[in-house]
């Protein structure tokens, strides 16, 4: 990989209760991976597979028990590391982030992070307004509103703006759309994609929702019992439904459907990954088979 923004080498993490020998649990074993700058990757795996433990290393919330993690040039857990600088570079949006909103106005909430960075007033203001516009909450309309009066999807985007206002180079999203309805989810995806394109930020997504992963990520890491079980391009990984099932995962429904068609003998190339592609292909296949049947019946006559 040319330009890796996150590199882990033999990362192992053991949760350990103090003074309690047997009460330790290996959450990550020898995980080595690289995440390319500017990409959107997803980390998938069943509950307890180590996803959250892994991403908590990316912004220094956890330090490796052994092995190393380097994030944007900073070695996590080494002595003298400036954790504040690390957390500003790797911004994390936790699950149900709207629960962390607390200010009286949207503006104050988004400004909280930049204020802690001790930026100039003007700079803070510029960042807040830009972040609000980026997440689709035009500042003229939303900056002075009470965050608690917004819809669930809007609140979540306020929380996202709060992270963006810190100008992170990496955005870590832990189950970002859980609990949002379909409309709220679609909007969230649209803004994320725009942020990625305009800001060149690297996105690390942790998700259970395979349709979400398919919509956003270009590269997948599959974790199983704390180990990196598989990695690859999204479409390549999702074409391995059998393997995914052994790890308790399933490909998105459309990939499942295509897998059954393949098993049934239809010639469906691996590149087919979207609804449009599948629709066009099936229409083409039907035309071919109709022609084929035509010749068949003629020869049988």
């Amino acid at each position: 990989m040319k330009d890796a923004i996150i590199v882990t080498r033999d990362l192992t993490y053991i949760y350990q209760a103090k003074n309690a020998g047997p009460l330790q649990k290996t959450a990550l074993s020898d995980v080595s991976l690289e995440i390319e700058r500017g990409s959107c990757v997803a980390i998938i795996g069943v509950t307890g597979s180590g996803k959250s433990t892994l991403v908590q290393h990316f912004n220094g919330l956890l330090r490796p028990t052994s092995g190393s993690v380097v994030v944007d040039g900073i070695e996590v857990g080494s002595k003298g590391v400036d954790n504040a600088a690390l957390r500003q570079r790797a911004g994390m949006l936790f699950q149900f982030p709207e629960a962390q909103l607390f200010e009286r106005t949207v503006y104050a909430d988004v400004a909280f992070g930049p204020r802690r960075m001790k930026l100039r007033r003007k700079e803070i203001r510029a960042r807040v307004l830009r972040a609000l516009d980026l997440v689709g909450l035009p500042h003229g309309e939303f900056a002075m509103r009470n965050p608690f009066e917004l819809s669930g999807g809007q609140k979540r985007r306020v929380a996202l703006a709060g992270v963006l206002a810190m100008s992170p180079s990496i955005l870590i999203l832990d189950e970002p759309t859980v609990g949002l309805d379909a409309g709220g989810r679609e909007e969230f995806y649209a803004y994320l994609k725009r942020i990625k394109e305009q800001q060149g930020v690297t996105i690390v997504l942790v998700s259970h929702d395979m349709a979400e992963v398919a919509a956003l990520a270009d590269w997948l890491f599959v974790l199983n019992e704390g180990r990196l079980a598989l990695q690859g391009e999204t479409r390549t990984v999702f074409n391995q439904d059998g393997a995914l099932r052994t790890w308790g995962l399933a490909a998105p429904p459309l990939n499942e459907l295509l897998a059954i068609l393949r098993k049934g003998g239809m010639a469906i190339p691996d590149e087919i990954n979207t609804l449009e592609e599948a629709f066009d292909l099936l229409q083409d296949l039907r035309q071919i088979s109709e022609k084929g049947q035509g010749t068949c019946s003629r020869t049988s006559l």
Binding site: V46, T47, G152, G179, L180, D181, A182, G183, G184, R185, H208, M210, A211, R245, G248, L249, A250, P252, P253, L254, E256, L257, I260, L261, G264, G265, M266, L275, A278, F279, L282, Q283, R286
Partner: protein
């Protein structure tokens, strides 16, 4: 003679009590909803967050009492406090997070808990607990502490605890929302199996269309009202309307609809990945 509905909700109106004493009028959570559920039916209540489906479900076992209208469960009016015990024994409920209803430190004791509280004879308790564990497939886990169970297994345990009370109906309120995709399918299959094998009435609440495909009837809610109702093929025939109700259309179903419009012979009854695939193949 027409069968009396197990659950008969008549013109239910409900508004949540004003908690902060604010002067603004609060929108009605349920606005004149009538719904009958027959014994042995498998019903899916579909709707996005805040559509009113949970509020409606809580009227089916007297967790909420209507502000207006009547809720009759097995013929008993929930407005009468003396009916509550019978109503709640008739209609059991499981929720998103099974941990909220797991109490004991061993699986078997947890299933027995509600029966013990009711002071039933030990022999009856043992028999019912064994039956309930068998029915949901957790017999082999009987001696384990619940925290050793996976999310899917804990949800099964919660179902067993309700089942042991021998209800006629179980309401599952987004009972799969916190589970992995595969455990999710497992729980939905289990609910169907209980419906088939024991004639248990099931009311399943979800915002996922793919979980509604195998229901006998779907009721779609929006802003405290029932806006669509019918067997799955009928409800799924109007994808535009479902989308407008902020529900996500599963891609295989969208694909099937588009292929049908393009002249493929795919029946409207094909609503699962498996059946759609088989119809495309033929």
């Amino acid at each position: 003679m027409e069968q009396i509905a197990l659950i008969d909700l008549q013109h239910i109106i409900y508004s949540y009590p004003d908690q902060q004493g604010e002067s603004e009028p609060i929108a009605l959570a349920l606005n004149d909803v009538s719904l009958q559920v027959q014994q042995g039916e498998y019903l899916v209540l579909l709707g996005h967050n805040g559509s009113g489906k949970s509020t409606l479900a809580r009227h089916c076992n007297a967790l909420l009492i209507p502000t207006g209208g009547h809720a009759l469960i097995a013929g008993r009016d929930s407005a009468e406090r003396s009916n509550w015990r019978t109503i709640r024994d008739t209609v059991g409920m499981i929720f998103q997070n099974p941990d909220n209803q797991i109490i004991a430190t061993v699986v078997e004791d947890d299933v027995a808990w509600a029966l013990t509280v009711r002071g039933l004879p030990v022999r009856v308790i043992e028999e019912r607990v064994a039956w309930a564990m068998q029915a949901v497939g957790i017999m082999h886990l009987r001696g384990l502490p619940p925290n050793k169970l996976s999310g899917g297994q804990r949800q099964r345990l919660a179902i067993a605890g309700v089942l042991a009370l021998r209800p006629q109906c179980i309401i599952a309120d987004e009972a799969t929302a916190q589970l992995d995709p595969l455990s999710r399918q497992d729980i939905v299959e289990l609910l169907h199996q209980l419906n088939r094998d024991y004639g248990l009435t099931i009311i399943q609440l979800t915002h996922l269309l793919e979980e509604a495909a195998l229901a006998q009837r779907i009721v779609v809610m929006e802003q405290g009202k029932i806006v669509m109702e019918g067997p799955p093929p009928q409800v799924f025939s109007d994808l535009e309307r479902l989308r407008a109700l902020r529900l996500a259309i599963p891609e295989p179903i969208e694909l099937a609809a588009r292929l049908r419009n393009a002249g493929f012979r795919i029946s409207t009854g094909a609503l699962t990945v498996e059946t759609i695939a088989q119809e495309i193949l033929h």
